[in-house]
């Protein structure tokens, strides 16, 4: 049996009194790519943000249920969200390198603020940039501003930044929706390689993308988990009619 990394049990979440997620139960194995698909507003992003406790940064956010990361409930009272976020990294929809910081500092800042020594820092930055397939393009211009890179490079910079602190899970919220096809395919290749080191959970609106890169796919619809299966099964022989309707584009 494959090792389970994340267990989501009866997770409900919302803002003020609106309920966005209803009783989600999901298990995510280690070193796999899991895709979340579903129409806009179905709670994919909220689900993702619950996994590293970013959801509670929004005013009025509420969460019920528990999420076990390596058998530890991350919603326990004594758990510091800051430590959870070090284990569970995140890449956002829009590339968002820190303005005013150099390429090097963008990757290094997380480590620096965690108190990593300067000697080790350079190596760690190099490894993460290599992992993010960006090293060859930026190794001569590390002093340049992070924002001076192109969109695709910026997004890979953000991935490198997330990888630098050695998380065990990386969450990606539509990482390629703001990018051109070439950058997209680069990032897809990257994700496929990344699963040797980390577990990737990715939200995507692109069915082909989900089928290309993921091992398992979860289909969410208006806050409920409709189906969670091996990707090959979901896209060839889904057991729910709703899933079939959605992935074939006959939705509604």
């Amino acid at each position: 049996m494959e090792k389970l990394l994340v267990k989501v049990q009866n997770l409900s979440a919302g803002f003020f009194s609106t309920i966005v997620l209803k009783e989600i139960n999901l298990e995510i194995p280690a070193h796999k790519v899991v895709a979340l698909i579903g129409p806009s507003g179905c709670g994919k992003s909220t689900f993702l943000r619950c996994l590293n406790r970013m959801h509670e940064e929004v005013p009025g956010a509420e969460v019920k249920g528990q999420i076990l990361l390596e058998d530890q409930n991350i919603y326990d009272k004594f758990i510091d969200p800051v430590l959870v976020r070090r284990k569970v990294g995140m890449v956002f929809q829009k590339p968002n390198p820190f303005p005013g910081l150099s390429i090097f500092d963008n990757v290094a800042v997380g480590l620096k603020l965690m108190g990593v020594k300067k000697k080790v820092l350079y190596e760690r930055v190099e490894t993460s940039l290599k992992q993010a397939a960006l090293w060859d393009e930026v190794k001569d211009i590390l002093k340049r501003q992070g924002t001076s890179l192109s969109g695709g490079q910026q997004q890979r910079l953000c991935i490198a930044r997330a990888l630098a602190i050695n998380p065990s899970v990386v969450l990606m919220d539509e990482p390629t929706s703001a990018l051109d096809p070439i950058s997209t395919s680069r990032i897809e290749n990257l994700i496929r390689r990344l699963k040797e080191q980390v577990t990737v959970i990715i939200v995507t609106h692109n069915m082909q993308q989900a089928s290309r890169i993921s091992d398992k796919t979860a289909f969410l619809l208006s806050g409920e988990l409709v189906e969670y299966e091996k990707t090959s099964k979901i896209f060839t022989n889904p057991s729910e009619r709703k899933t079939e309707a959605y992935i074939t584009g006959r939705f509604g």
């Binding site: 970013m54 990294g89 956002f92 620096k112 930044r161």
Partner: protein, 143 residues
């Protein structure tokens, strides 16, 4: 200095609010505590704007007269400790300019000149140093 605080505080607050939320979130998602995100990530990004705010507020308080009448109370003589009324340039200019003696009025003009030059040089040197700082960065960029 004290009079400057609210202006600087408000200005800084507004500037930090201008930083898009996703930058802040990116910092938080890296597992950095909120105060460190602000201090080490947001502030370096807006440093030059903050300097501008500082300059403007220095210029503003340097010309402030009316509040000083009530706070430092004005004193034409030497002071022996800081609890006594203290002489301030704007109040001095005000007092001298309405005195009626030509000599004192001339001194008031001179005082005004000193104030203007003071602000001018502060701004001048900050701009110059900012310029070289940026130039330095540009050089590094293409090294």
């Amino acid at each position: 200095m004290l009079i400057m605080l609210p202006v600087v505080a408000r200005g800084t607050e507004e500037i930090l609010k201008m930083v898009p939320n996703h930058i802040r979130e990116a910092g938080l998602a890296l597992g950095i505590p909120r105060w460190k995100v602000i201090l080490y990530i947001l502030i370096p990004g807006v440093a030059s704007m903050l300097v501008t705010v500082l300059m403007l507020s220095i210029a503003r308080i340097a010309g402030e007269t009316a509040p000083l009448l009530f706070t430092s109370l004005g004193n034409q003589y030497h002071i022996r400790n800081l609890n006594e009324p203290i002489a301030t340039l704007p109040v001095q200019i005000y007092e001298f300019s309405k005195s009626g003696f030509e000599q004192m009025e001339n001194q008031a003009w001179a005082g005004a000149m000193v104030l203007v030059l003071f602000i001018f040089f502060i701004n001048f040197f900050t701009r110059i140093s900012l310029f070289f700082y940026k130039k330095d960065r540009v050089k590094k960029k293409f090294k």
